[in-house]
């Protein structure tokens, strides 16, 4: 009986562990390749809080519609966006990138220090579907902090 419980427990753990690598099913088929790669839209044009706040921010529907009222208005995925706007319904994106618990991460000091978005988020401008490529665990953080001579004091991140 103990063995059964352990197997079930491990099973739940493994399933959840793998689900990270799976591509999330997004409500709209958004492509970073088209936006950031082909058309070279600057990251901070959409993720406008990255330089000012802890979170980079998902663009508001209004920001999307700023271009898509006209641009590519006939594409089916863009029409999904327009439906959201017309019905005044925000889009429920599925979260892709996560940090481990117990870390206090803020985007703004990294952006202001000139760290490229791709350093942590990978070659995002080539991704048709967005995935998390780095584990963003303490090893990776420390490696970069050491290389760039940023603070490795515990309380810098664990506060």
């Amino acid at each position: 009986m103990i063995a059964v419980v352990i197997i079930v427990g491990m099973g739940a753990f493994l399933l959840n562990g793998f689900s990270r690598a799976r591509v999330a099913q997004q409500p709209i088929g958004f492509s970073h390749k088209v936006h950031a790669g082909d058309f070279k839209v600057a990251c901070e044009y959409c993720h406008s809080y990255a330089r000012r706040a802890a979170v980079a921010g998902i663009p508001s529907v209004q920001r999307c519609m700023g271009c898509h009222k006209i641009t590519a208005a006939d594409k089916p995925e863009v029409q999904k966006l327009q439906n959201h706007w017309n019905q005044k319904q925000p889009i429920q994106w599925v979260k892709v990138t996560s940090m481990p618990d117990f870390v206090f991460f803020e985007h703004w000091p990294h952006v202001r220090a000139g760290v490229k978005c791709q350093t942590c988020h990978g070659p995002i401008e080539t991704m048709e579907e967005t995935v998390q490529v780095n584990a963003l665990n303490m090893n990776e953080c420390l490696a970069c902090h050491r290389k760039e001579k940023a603070s490795i004091d515990c309380v810098t991140c664990h506060r």
Partner: protein, 721 residues
């Protein structure tokens, strides 16, 4: 199958892991929902602070509200506001729990045929109310409007609005009013005002029952003053003596407590004046005034007073000398007995002969609290309601059915005659009797201004959108006015425009060097406009020389205990009882949480055989309540003390079923001189019920049992006096 303890823990550990992991990956926590249209001032994760005014009590402290993503999450004192200078009390901190209170009324309600309140639309509610007002057909005096002291634009708008519907009675109700102080200032100095008390400059504070660290006038301001006068500055530490029947937090923070019987404070003050004059310590008094004062206090020699008050004549002389020599000193009075005005007059005289008037007691800037309507005018209204002379009663921001001793009687009458409209944000005892409830925004959601002292004009701005379908009182009145086609008299589109117009008038009056828009923006940013007001010199009013000083009178059986109901740091008059933070805040003296109790002296308890936590029946000619006993030397023998604020019957889930309110025991008599409600004028009989009711105390025990928790050691700069 037998499972060993160790195996059981293993199973528990593993299934715990799987539960935790699956918990983290639930679909709802993995969605990111951006704004449809982003707010201009919102940066996610970054706080935006707005200056506004705390409206939880009449002190009117300035606050800064921290908002995150458009939600107020914390309040702090506004350092620029002269009243609190960056500090804030527990009630101010708990104001957020008013905003987010789950019991808030979320839309207009009307009483249906079945007697229950049912939701209606604003449009329908306005239509009903406009219909009722039209039925008055210009008989405006059949309408009465009860509000708290508002001292600002909304106050003036209500007056204008009442005028537009043909008059109407306006009452400004505060359960903690200072009518006797106001009346005493008229008798003593000819000014019907409440002055500024400058405690921080005083070297000696003698408080006659004024709990200035808890509720008296402006507690946050005075706590700061007190800390500064008690600090070891210029080689001396300010001295503080508390006179009163109960050891309050203010009393406990003083150097000495003189436990007089309630109402005898006047004699102690007069005895001190007598001693000061007899010893020739009063300087610079005109001969005529000196003669007049000597005549008033002649019967109150320290020896005579010593007998009445129960302390030695020498002690009175020592106090009197110290009071004059530690100039400037200050004597404060919060009198609630049948001779309340006498006490305040006696304390005024004490301040006058010690040369404190103009130094620590400054007339000129007036407290808004002086605008309060007297309790006598409430009794008049009650009689008019009973005679059927009132058809519509508006109640906004106050809960008279809980606070007035006649609450029960009023409830019976209101059920039958008038059309009661409540603007309360929460269900309370008054909305229980209302036919229509038009919920007001909380102060975090509305525009407004409040001038607690002349010249200190706090400006209140909404820090977030209203959470529910509620409206600001000013907007409700203006919309109602549109429906009644009174737009000519009240041409403002909403209250915001009225407020701005009022500030335009202020702008014209004070003529700053900038244009109006700059002045307005700066006032909103700073939280108001603050000006100092020149001190006005006052002289003795000849009327004071004719004043006679009466001993206190108590209703009820002569062998009963004098009842001392008192407001508390946490609940004020009871309006804060629906805040869980304050319910779980231990009383600063007794450390008891969640309930109230009856405090009785050990010698009295022994006589009646009362033990700790015994449930007692407390009976007066007006009513009876049941409360558990707390036996403590913090009250003098012959009195019992009960905190006001608990015992709500309809104030939401957090205030429900806790303790009892002593207000229903009071004999509902106004004081002869000022018309104020007599709080300390009832004797109660205390009886055992044979039951126990355990009180939750966070301290467990009042004594240190020689554990050495507190040590005394001499520090040379402090010398014994």
């Amino acid at each position: 199958m037998e499972i060993k303890r160790r195996d059981f823990l293993k199973i528990l550990g593993v299934s715990g892991v799987s539960a935790a992991v699956s918990g983290c990956s639930s679909e709802t926590s993995r969605t990111l929902i951006p704004y449809l249209i982003p707010e201009n001032e919102v940066v996610p994760g970054q706080a935006t602070w707005y200056a506004t005014v705390c409206r939880e009590c009449p002190a009117g402290c300035g606050v800064l509200a921290k908002t995150m993503e458009g939600r107020a999450v914390k309040v702090e004192g506004n350092p620029d506001h002269p009243v609190n200078q960056g500090r804030l009390c527990a009630r101010g901190q708990a104001s957020l729990q008013g905003l987010y209170n789950p019991d808030r009324i979320r839309q207009p309600l009307r009483r249906g045929a079945d007697g229950n309140l049912q939701p209606v639309s604003w449009d329908e509610a306005e239509r009903i109310l406009a219909g009722r007002i039209s039925e008055l057909k210009g008989q405006g005096d059949r309408l009465a409007f009860i509000t708290p002291v508002m001292a600002g634009s909304l106050d003036r708008l209500i007056d204008l609005w009442l005028k537009s519907v043909g008059g109407g009675k306006r009452l400004r109700y505060e359960p903690l009013s200072y009518e006797s102080l106001r009346e005493a200032n008229r008798i003593t100095f000819g000014v019907q005002e409440i002055p500024v008390y400058n405690l921080q400059n005083a070297n000696f504070i003698l408080s006659f029952g004024a709990d200035f660290l808890e509720t008296w006038l402006s507690p946050v301001e005075y706590a700061r003053h007190f800390a500064s006068m008690r600090a070891y500055r210029a080689g001396v530490m300010g001295r503080s003596v508390y006179v009163g029947p109960r050891l309050s937090l203010t009393g406990a923070n003083s150097d000495e407590w003189i436990a007089v019987h309630p109402g005898n404070e006047s004699f102690l003050a007069l005895g001190m004046v007598n001693a000061i004059l007899a010893e020739g310590l009063a300087e610079g008094l005109p001969a005529a005034e000196l003669k007049g004062l000597q005549d008033i206090v002649a019967p109150h020699t320290p020896e005579a007073v010593a007998k009445q008050v129960g302390i030695s004549a020498d002690k009175i002389r020592v106090l009197a000398r110290a009071f004059v020599k530690k100039h400037p000193s200050v004597a404060l009075a919060d009198a609630k007995s049948s001779n309340a005005t006498d006490i305040c007059v006696a304390v005024n005289l004490l301040n006058y002969v010690a040369g404190n008037v103009g130094a620590t007691v400054r007339f000129g800037a007036e407290a808004a609290m002086a605008q309060v309507s007297s309790y006598g005018s409430f009794q008049k209204l009650l009689r008019e309601i009973e005679q059927g002379a009132i058809s519509i009663l508006f109640v906004a921001g106050v809960n008279p059915l809980f606070n007035l001793p006649e609450g029960k009687r009023l409830r019976e009458r209101l059920g039958k005659i008038p059309f009661v409209v409540s603007f309360s944000s929460f269900p309370d005892e008054t909305t229980e009797s209302a036919q229509l409830v038009l919920p007001e925004n909380t102060f975090f959601e509305s525009w407004g201004d409040y001038e607690p002292w002349t010249g200190i004009r706090g400006l209140q701005q909404p820090v977030m959108e209203p959470l529910y379908d509620t409206r600001a009182l000013g907007d409700i009145l203006l919309l109602l006015s549109t429906r009644l086609q009174n737009n000519e008299k009240l041409p403002w589109k909403n209250f915001y425009f009225y407020l701005r117009d009022q500030w335009k008038e202020l702008y014209r009056r004070i003529k700053p060097d900038v244009d109006f828009e700059t002045f307005w923006t700066e006032s909103v940013r700073r939280g108001g406009n603050f000006q100092s007001v020149a001190t006005k010199s006052v002289q003795l009013n000849p009327e004071v020389f004719k004043k006679s000083f009466q001993p206190p009178v108590f209703a009820g059986a002569g062998d009963g205990f004098a009842l001392i109901p008192y407001p508390t740091l946490a609940f004020y008059d009871g309006r804060m009882a629906n805040r869980p933070w304050l319910q779980e805040l231990p009383d600063p003296v007794s450390q008891i949480v969640w309930e109230n109790w009856l405090e009785i002296h050990p010698s009295d308890a022994e006589k009646l055989g009362i033990k700790k936590n015994d449930l007692l029946q407390i009976q007066s000619p007006a009513g009876e309540i049941k409360l558990p006993a707390r036996i403590s030397k913090n009250v003098r023998p012959g009195i019992v003390a009960i905190a006001v604020g608990q015992g709500h019957s309809a104030f939401g889930r957090y205030a429900q079923g806790r303790g009892a309110s002593p207000m229903s025991l009071l004999s509902a008599e106004p004081e002869a001189d000022s018309g104020a409600l007599i709080w300390y004028g009832t004797r109660v009989a205390v009886r055992q019920t044979g039951l126990k009711h355990m009180l939750a105390s966070t301290s467990g025990n009042d004594r240190s049992h020689d554990r050495g928790s507190f040590r005394r050691f001499p520090w040379p700069p402090f010398k014994a006096e």
